[in-house]
């Protein structure tokens, strides 16, 4: 029954490009991008309560590597879309090992700086060694192709998440989120458990970055390594609620629509709105829509 419903949902999502015009398809593609990003982000940050602000860094690696690979090294899109997530996973391993052993605050601050650091490094290498030429991503992909690829990634993220929820690793992460000292004392290698999950989020963020690169057609480090993206992912996941696998999904859809309206009406104050949404969500609905929904359901039963 549940599988049937999920299959139906997947099918419904798959026919979106066939029934919508360019404008709505573009919004749906953006939403699908954020569904994959927020859901995979929550796999790590949900149970551990560590707010990772590194999505932009890994996403940027995906986009930038597709750009430089296709423009400078004559690689195919597919090769780069395969290599980029592995590079991001390796970077996540290094960052995780360096910061996740320390206290949570270190981790959050470091991830915030990471996108900026990688962006500067990439710009520097680009300007000094590769020449500051533009990076073109020319493919035959239509928006529908990109949408379907993102849908496939999102489906894999959900599969991975539902496996994780039933696995010992997922259980270990929940224990870590409850009490890290107890986690260590029942035999959990807390550092590695966190690093493995952080690598997973890095992998998916870079994969998504690579897939949407053809949307930009022209890649610039300043655009793909965007701190705004990191915050958007966090906000949408928190809005939906991170204690359920499908929570972020519930946050992404309304927020993407609202954000579309905001960027059209107030193109110069998006940062202000981003900050405002963040504060409102954290203060008003700390457990997101899913938390709200479950509380209401609980009250109705009583």
């Amino acid at each position: 029954m549940q599988n049937l419903a999920l299959g139906g949902l997947l099918l419904a999502a798959a026919v979106v490009p066939l029934v919508s015009d360019g404008y709505w398809l573009s919004i749906a593609t953006t939403a699908m991008m954020y569904i994959a990003l927020s859901t995979s982000w929550a796999l790590f940050s949900g149970p551990t309560h560590l707010i990772a602000l590194s999505t932009g860094a890994f996403f940027g690696i995906g986009g930038y590597m597709v750009g430089t690979g296709m423009s400078d090294y004559e690689q195919s899109f597919w090769t780069m879309a395969l290599i980029a997530p592995l590079v991001a996973t390796a970077l996540a391993l290094l960052v995780g090992l360096a910061t996740l052993r320390l206290s949570g605050v270190y981790f959050v601050i470091f991830t915030l700086g990471l996108a900026e650091m990688v962006r500067n490094l990439v710009s520097w290498v680009q300007n000094n060694f590769l020449g500051s030429r533009g990076l073109y991503v020319l493919t035959d992909f239509t928006e529908a192709h990109i949408y379907w690829m993102l849908l496939a990634v999102a489906a894999v993220v959900f599969l991975a998440g539902s496996w994780l929820n039933r696995s010992r690793l997922g259980f270990a992460l929940r224990i870590i989120g409850n009490d890290e000292e107890v986690a260590r004392h029942v035999g959990i290698n807390t550092a590695w458990s966190k690093v493995i999950l952080f690598m997973t989020t890095g992998f998916f963020a870079a994969l998504v970055g690579a897939i949407v690169a053809p949307r930009y057609s022209y890649i610039e480090p300043n655009v793909v390594f965007s701190p705004e993206l990191s915050f958007m992912v966090v906000i949408m996941a928190l809005l939906g609620g991170v204690h359920r696998l499908w929570g972020p999904l519930v946050g992404v859809i309304p927020f993407t629509l609202a954000w579309e309206a905001i960027t059209v009406s107030f193109p110069n104050s998006t940062t202000l709105f981003l900050g405002l949404s963040f504060l409102l969500i954290v203060y008003l609905i700390p457990h997101g829509f899913t938390g709200l929904f479950e509380t209401m359901l609980g009250r109705m039963r009583k």
């Binding site: 929940r174 224990i175 989120g177 107890v182 260590r184 004392h185 029942v186 035999g187």
Partner: protein, 243 residues
């Protein structure tokens, strides 16, 4: 059960916090199936000793050896996987997990890992034994203080430890709960478990411990059966003088 061979060796263990020497050149052995008490006035270094054994703290010098394996340099999760389980002086249960999940947490990553249906059955049996069987599926906020203590003990037992560390597990119980608590540990003792017990309750020490180490200001001042150490002049002075 009669004590067997030495299972845990504490050798010249020292822990400094800055200028303070919390544990000073402490040595003792624990034998299999033995209940070893660590007693002493507040601040004498008992919890620090437990924390050093479980790996929560790193020793400044000295060694802790479990069945020939040197625990001293190991992180807590590796020590746990060698068969050391503990409860904490201030009870620590996992607040967002159910009662049953709290116990499975103790079983899933131990030296005898259990998972899935087997872990659930094993954890259920343990909860039945500790008279928490009917609260399995509840959240832990529904538990009374003694039930929280029982749950923490169940989590530790779920790993089937070689050595069980109980840091003032009886503290804070009212007189009738105390009798239940003492009976419970007496049960564990008669099963032949190896236990290191930090305790203030004299009745418990007399009835449960095979031997005791008495600490004062980080130093061992006596070791022997409860009857021996509790009649020792220096021990009486330590308790009456500063305790």
């Amino acid at each position: 059960m009669t004590p067997g061979d030495t299972i845990l060796r504490v050798q010249n263990l020292t822990k400094r916090f800055g200028g303070l020497v919390a544990v000073n050149d402490l040595s003792f052995d624990v034998r299999e199936h033995e209940v070893m008490g660590i007693i002493g006035p507040n601040g004498s270094g008992k919890s620090t000793t437990m924390n050093l054994i479980s790996g929560a703290l790193k020793a400044s010098s000295g060694a802790i050896v479990l069945k020939g394996a040197d625990l001293t340099p190991l992180p807590p999760h590796k020590i746990a996987r060698l068969g050391v389980a503990r409860t904490f002086q201030l009870v620590r249960i996992l607040p967002k997990l159910t009662v049953l999940e709290n116990v499975i947490a103790g079983a899933a990553f131990s030296h005898k890992p259990r998972w899935g249906a087997e872990a659930e059955r094993f954890a259920s049996d343990l909860l039945d034994r500790l008279e928490l069987g009917d609260k399995k599926d509840l959240g832990v906020d529904a538990l009374t203080y003694i039930d929280q203590k029982r749950l923490e003990l169940a989590r530790a037992l779920a790993s089937e430890p070689e050595v069980l560390l109980l840091d003032e597990w009886l503290a804070g119980l009212n007189p009738s709960e105390l009798q239940i608590g003492i009976a419970l540990i007496a049960d564990l003792r008669s099963e032949g478990r190896t236990i290191i017990l930090v305790e203030h309750v004299m009745d418990a020490i007399r009835s449960l411990c095979d031997r005791c180490v008495v600490m004062n200001s980080g130093t061992k001042i006596a070791e022997g059966t409860p009857a021996e150490v509790l009649s020792d002049a220096e021990v009486i002075r330590a308790y009456l003088g500063e305790g």
